[in-house]
Amino acid sequence: MRRASWILLGLASLAMAAPLRAETLAITGARIHTLAGAGVVENGVILVEDGLISAVGADLPVPAEATVIDAAGRVVTPGLFAPFSSIGLREVSGVSETNDHLVTDAAAGAAFSVAAAVNAESVLFGVARVGGVTRALTAPAPGNSIFAGQASLLRLDGVRSPVFERDVALVAAVGEDGAGLAGGSRALALQSLTRAFEEAALYRESTPVRRRAQASSLDLPRQDLEALIAFSGSGRPLAVHANRASDILGAVRALRAMDLDPVIIGGAEAWRVADVLAEAGVPVILDPLANLPLSYDTLGGRLDNATLLHEAGVAVAFMEEAGHSVREIRQYAGNAVAHGLPWEVALAAITRTPAQIWGVDDRLGAIAPGMIADLVVWTGDPLELSTWAETVLVEGREIPMDSRQLRLRDRYRNPRALYDGPVDR
């Protein structure tokens, strides 16, 4: 026993050693897109201390003790932030045993939190961070209720506890998906949204004795009512899947009337109601490539959706929902630029805007003193397809450019030798 505890203590101090040493890191020579007051800094320097950005500018002296990353001719941005995904909840989409993103066999909607299901060892994290994505929202999908549950924020650098902010948003669905869950009509889905919060309020105001009697007459299970009560007063956003313009309008009006803060997820036809969204201050997390009339809810899909929303004053962020391909959000941003969105707004849509939407922009999404040092050094324009991430920092630490995919690549550079010869495998 004694020996074991000494070993544990030793390991603990070893693990502690790194953060205790005040390490200074400097990235030099890069074109820096700060997405903050400093704007774009040419040939700039970023200083990082203890995981935080301490300074950024053009003519900063680099401390002698600093570890220097020479990024001359390179471009530096904040780490990319995937604003809505199921990363860490679905390892292999087609293998249900590895799927924890939705509840189908229990009466849990609003109360379902995905936080405890996140797989810290997910192979998807390495693939994402090698692609420059350092943060993501991971969200439940609607299963049994128009309320899918609560989403959490993740860091993707492979730490034991990747959830850095849990239950930051409640996810719900209206429109075609919501209709199916509410009983057949999209009108009922919108009504259910309102009624759920009304029931929660009724339940909150009841005495414990009356609650028991009430529970049987209310639509929602007790745990969901309690989750909704906790959510109502929290100021956290409600992420609503909605694509058809009428459903977006309906959801925004219903939720604003209850003083809730909606975030539209999908929003294929959001451009049609851009003025309402702008006035209500409702952001849209969309897929800029969703121009196909794949369902009757998305007949109005178009590639300049983000452009029209931005011009009307709506904040936009770009999602790759499934999780395996969150690295593609920079391609999505590039396409939005090709269809009229200003470049800086497109970069913000995969960095600063997601941080703002989920309420962590005091720490993430921009390069400024005091911000967490999630940084990516790109070989060129980060929205361009010929560019790749060369160096990725999460909380000031350079992560190894390693993923299961890169290991498979290297293993098969010479497939014949791998199986025919006595080689190192």
Binding site: E91, V92, S93, G94, V95, L124, V127, L289, N291, L292, P293, L294, S295, Y296, L299, G300, G301, R302, L303, D304, T307, A322, H324, S325, R327, E328, Q331, G334, N335, V337, A338, H339, G340, L383, E384, L385, S386, T387, W388, Q405, L406, L408, R409, Y412, R413, P415, R416
Partner: protein, 490 residues
């Protein structure tokens, strides 16, 4: 074909010589009654262009596509990727009478030619998607439109994907706006043998015949792995395992071999042999065994692709291309040796177990091994941006230190794809005599910011970003989608 339904049931599943002889009398009667069917053997390919065989125009369901006349076009001072591995700067491309006339510098324009000043812009051959379901799985993706998988039996070689194609699929013009001039529409992958695929020109039409690529060979869609065994295994039907899959292919080829033997015996005038009773399934499979129908095989895993090659050896047919082939990089050397193409995504992965080992360098490693690499879409979304998919594959190649460039990468979408469809002598390259299937890009087509500006098919301008009159609309678009409601799209 109309006589087939009158056939007595006991002759319905003609599978061998014995059987054929029993049914021979009936067949003779039918052949006499319908003299045109005397050359029924020619129907195996539908529209063969082989000399001495029924001409394309007389084959059933033949192409009715005839490009309208168009004035010559001279594209001047562009950066040209020829599809042959070459890049020409400040080059001209002359199109006339539906063909590429010349590619070079300072070309003279014919008097009636339209001149397109293209300094700073790029020109490539029209893009080709070898794996599409447009028309078969049109938008909106509702049950009423779900026509891509005849998943009622694991072997449906009898069905032809073209007979599900809805020419009013609003996804077709969107693919055109992405520079796609030719596409192969395949049956889905629910079945071991899904049926015949069809190669289309991306032109508007009132029927699929109006869109068919003249003289293109038919193809056969086969599928390995998870999909067939999942679809049928769930019904407690065969196949429910990968070994069940393999047994299913082999049993089909055994029947096809017997049918072909009967057919060949009859064709060579062997005494006593009559024409085998027509059988849609076996006609298709025999067409493969004769090398007239090209096999396009959906297959993800390396080990399964190697087994499929073994099946092809056992029964004497060729696999033209493995599709999806997320593990092609594990057997790139074998694919090169066997001369089998790999039609790939740039970076799709993880959506099912057999796609879990996909890597971004798959295309690059197949190319590096000297095999035929193709970038395909299998997606109404990505078919709009095949150039971007290739660009990502090119990025991964460069990241690992390969020295590939745009001139190499365009082949994944043009010449290599055309070869796999059996039309590599007609399209996929900007060379004299080739079909004038051409895209003018706003810039480097491998840049995320570039878009197709103009698209010509057989020398006819089919899309122009500068002129709304050249944004084709399907019936579905009219009054429903933004384009079909006259919205100005950026």
């Amino acid at each position: 074909m109309h006589h087939a339904s009158k056939r007595p049931m006991n002759c319905g599943g003609a599978v061998g010589r014995q059987h054929v002889r029993r049914c021979a009398r009936l067949a003779v009667t039918l052949l006499l009654a319908v003299p045109a069917l005397a050359g029924a053997a020619d129907w195996y390919v539908g529209d063969p262009s082989r000399p001495g065989v029924r001409s394309d125009a007389r084959a059933p369901y033949a192409s009715r596509y005839r490009p309208p006349a168009a004035a010559p076009v001279l594209i001047r001072d562009a950066t040209v990727l020829t599809g042959t591995g070459e890049r020409l700067d400040d080059a001209d491309v002359l199109l006339a009478r539906g063909k590429v006339v010349r590619v070079g510098t300072d070309l003279k324009a014919p008097q009636d030619a339209e001149i397109v000043e293209a300094a700073g812009r790029w020109v490539t051959p029209g893009l080709i998607d070898v794996h599409s379901h447009l028309g078969d799985y049109p938008a909106p993706a509702v049950e009423a439109h779900s026509d891509g998988n005849e998943s009622t039996s694991p072997v449906t070689a009898r069905v032809w994907a073209e007979h599900s194609v809805w020419p009013q699929d609003p996804q077709l013009p969107l693919a055109l706006m992405g520079g796609v001039t030719t596409l192969q529409v395949l049956p889905g992958s629910a079945n071991l043998i899904g049926g015949r695929g069809v190669t289309l020109k991306n032109v508007p039409g009132r029927s699929v015949m109006d869109m068919k690529f003249p003289g293109a060979p038919h193809s056969l869609k086969m599928a390995c792995g998870e999909n067939p065994k999942r679809v049928y295994g769930r019904r407690t039907a065969a196949p429910s395992t990968r070994m069940g899959n393999v047994a299913g292919y082999r049993e089909s080829w055994i029947r096809a071999r017997e049918y072909l033997e009967d057919l060949s015996a009859w064709e060579s005038g062997e005494p006593g042999m009559e024409a085998p009773v027509r059988d849609l399934e076996l006609e298709t499979l025999a067409g493969v065994l004769r090398g007239e129908i090209l096999v396009h095989n959906h297959c993800y895993r390396a080990d399964e692709m190697l087994v499929m090659l073994e099946i092809a050896r056992e029964f004497g047919y060729r696999i033209t291309a493995f599709h999806h082939a997320t593990e092609a990089y594990k057997i790139a050397d074998v694919l090169a040796e066997e001369g089998v193409c790999a039609a790939l995504w740039a970076d799709w992965w993880g959506f099912k177990l057999e796609a879990f080992d996909a890597i971004e360098e798959n295309v690059a490693l197949v190319e590096a091994a000297g095999a035929c690499a193709i970038v395909h879409s299998d997606s109404p979304r990505d078919i709009q941006r095949l150039n971007q998919e290739a660009a990502k594959a090119l990025m991964a190649a460069r990241r690992m230190g390969a020295t590939l460039d745009e001139a190499d990468a365009i082949r994944w979408l043009t010449a290599n794809a055309a070869e796999a469809l059996g039309v590599g002598d007609r399209t996929g390259r900007l060379a004299p005599g080739y079909m004038a299937d051409v895209v003018l890009w706003s810039g480097n087509p491998f840049s995320v910011y570039s878009t197709a500006q103009r698209v010509w098919i057989d020398g006819v301008l089919r899309y122009s970003a500068e002129d709304p009159a050249f944004r084709p609309l399907t019936d579905f678009d009219v009054g429903q989608t933004p384009a079909g409601r006259g919205e100005v799209l950026r």
